[in-house]
């Protein structure tokens, strides 16, 4: 009898939880969209009034985000390029087409892996930092202090971070694309024994300009996503250290999920809308 009474309750609880979480998810996305609108508004204002977003804040963030992430991006991109070259050669060997390794590496790095590696590394390195920084500011009442001084936190904290990431991520993406090809070149020539001249020729033969710019367009979208998600998570922190930890994790997880979903959609759009 007891079991009969509790089980429907459990099911209700289970579905109730799904419903509650779905509601919370959409409420969260709604707030994210509101933040996006506020940032767009600030950028619009910045076009009219010069002082709106201060250049020194943007440059400061560019150094923190970009220059300090260069090493890690190069390292990972070279390693991925190497792996890609080895795996490609392993398969192409069966058809006697090892020579085309260069082309395969360059196209996959330019179109897909370059932007993706840069975005995922930056969401882990810069996104987490942004969320933790803003979250700590929120718990220490610094965000409230800004508000009571009549300074808009979106204009002062979110907009410079967004703008810097929109500048930095495409640059890092190009570096990641190139370094991936360098990794492929090293393995292709030194490891597999392809003639360096032939490797470079095949590498650039396969590459068209569209491969590079679709990668860069993607990186701009990723930059907006990472900055917005991380700032949003940071500014929604409630409670102390636990809240900051939670927000940091949430910022990275949500950014990576959204990056991959958006990548999927963007790739489909480029495939169908921009053939050739």
């Amino acid at each position: 009898m007891t079991e009969f009474n509790t089980s429907p309750g459990k099911i209700r609880g289970f579905f109730g939880k799904i419903g509650q979480n779905t509601g919370l998810f959409f409420a969260g996305e709604g707030r994210l969209f509101d933040l996006f609108k506020s940032v767009v508004k600030v950028f619009g204002m910045a076009l009219i009034r010069k002082k709106t977003v201060k250049s020194e804040h943007v440059f400061q963030q560019i150094v923190l985000m970009g220059v300090e992430s260069l090493g890690i991006i190069c390292l990972v991109a070279v390693a991925v390029g190497m792996i890609l070259a080895l795996q490609a050669a392993y398969q192409l060997k069966q058809f006697g087409a090892v020579l085309y390794t260069g082309g395969l590496v360059s196209v996959s790095m330019a179109r897909e892996l370059g932007p993706l590696i840069a975005a995922i590394l930056i969401s882990g390195r810069v996104g987490a930092r942004m969320a933790a920084e803003l979250g700590t500011m929120k718990t220490q009442e610094e965000v409230d202090a800004l508000t009571t001084m009549g300074l808009n936190s979106v204009r002062y904290l979110v907009a410079p971070r967004c703008l810097s990431l929109i500048i930095v991520l495409p640059c890092l993406t190009v570096i990641s694309q190139v370094m991936g090809m360098v990794g492929g070149f090293l393995v292709g020539t030194l490891g597999i024994g392809i003639d360096p001249y032939m490797y470079v020729e095949k590498n650039f033969d396969a590459l068209v300009i569209k491969d590079v710019y679709t990668g860069i367009i993607k990186s701009v979208v990723f930059a907006i996503l990472i900055a917005l998600v991380s700032c949003h998570e940071g500014l929604s922190v409630d409670g102390g250290a636990e809240g900051v930890g939670k927000a940091t994790t949430q910022a990275v997880v949500t950014s990576i999920i959204l990056i991959i979903i958006c990548d999927c959609i963007a790739t489909a759009i480029f495939y169908y809308a921009l053939p050739g």
Binding site: M137, Q140, E141, E142, D144, A145, T147, T148, M149, G150, L151, N152, Y156
Partner: protein, 268 residues
């Protein structure tokens, strides 16, 4: 209290509920210009919530708040930012920006809200730091100075734009008695010399009686008693008396009677 004094803040029937839980329950309060009003009450009585309403960090469920003749309830963000330039706020934890130096913290409102030249801003920063007794600390980072100094820097930042009103959230919290007394003296000086209206939220009795022109005691989101320091000290209200003397037992009993305890257990 002088009858001719104008009220710079008028709160009418302020109600705030969070998810059916009423935190402020019909507050009516006038804060006279140029004087020090202290809002007191036990933990959780709604005094910090009341302060957050006054600075526009929270919007009330009902009621109106007039600051210097302007109703800030339902006001636009831009309108509120204009009102905010008339006041400064000292947060409980000082809330200095850790990435900026002491000088930059004080200069921030000046840089953002005025078109003054940098050399002039530097002079104003020096004057404000001098006022709080921190001459020569411009280049220190917030983590290099003590808690009491941080509060004084935050006070210098709060008065950077020469506001009409300064709000203080627990100015003496977490400080030793001497530093807390120093902060009290600063509040008094600012009020007497610069005619700044001060609204202080605290639960420290000593500090309250030292500085207050008017004391407001809150309990469970309602105003229990209002008056001058002497009037509050002579209050007949048993809760006020218990609060002043800091006795563990009184209007709020330390130990429940066995009947009340049993009743509470059965209710849950």
């Amino acid at each position: 209290m002088n009858n001719e004094t104008k009220n710079i803040i008028e709160i009418k029937n302020l109600v705030k509920t969070f998810d059916d839980r009423s935190v402020l329950d019909g507050i009516n309060l006038e804060i006279p210009e140029g004087e020090i009003t202290v809002i007191m009450g036990g933990s959780g009585c709604g005094k910090s919530t009341l302060l957050r309403h006054l600075v526009g960090l929270l919007t009330p469920t009902e009621g109106s708040i007039m600051i210097d003749g302007e109703n800030i309830v339902g006001i636009s963000e831009n309108g509120m930012n204009c009102v905010r330039r008339k006041f400064g706020m000292l947060f409980q934890g000082a809330a200095l920006f850790n990435s900026l130096t002491v000088g930059e913290n004080v200069a921030l409102p000046l840089r953002e809200h005025t078109d003054l030249k940098d050399t002039i801003i530097q002079i104003i920063v020096k004057v404000k730091l001098e006022l709080v007794g921190l001459t020569g600390f411009e280049h220190f980072m917030p983590h290099q100075i003590s808690g009491g100094m941080k509060k004084r820097v935050a006070l210098a930042r709060a008065i950077a734009l020469d506001p009409k009103i300064v709000f203080y959230d627990e100015p003496g919290a977490g400080l030793d008695p001497i530093t807390a007394a120093m902060i009290d003296q600063l509040i008094l000086d600012l009020s007497r010399k610069l005619r700044i209206t001060s609204v202080v939220v605290t639960h420290e009795m000593k500090s309250a009686f030292r500085i207050a022109d008017k004391i407001v005691i809150l309990r469970k989101g309602k105003i229990l008693e209002t008056g001058t320091g002497a009037q509050i000290q002579n209050s007949k209200n048993s809760y006020v008396q218990q609060f002043i003397s800091g006795e563990p037992d009184g209007a709020i009993p330390l130990m429940q009677t066995s009947e009340a305890y049993l009743k509470g257990l059965l209710e849950t």
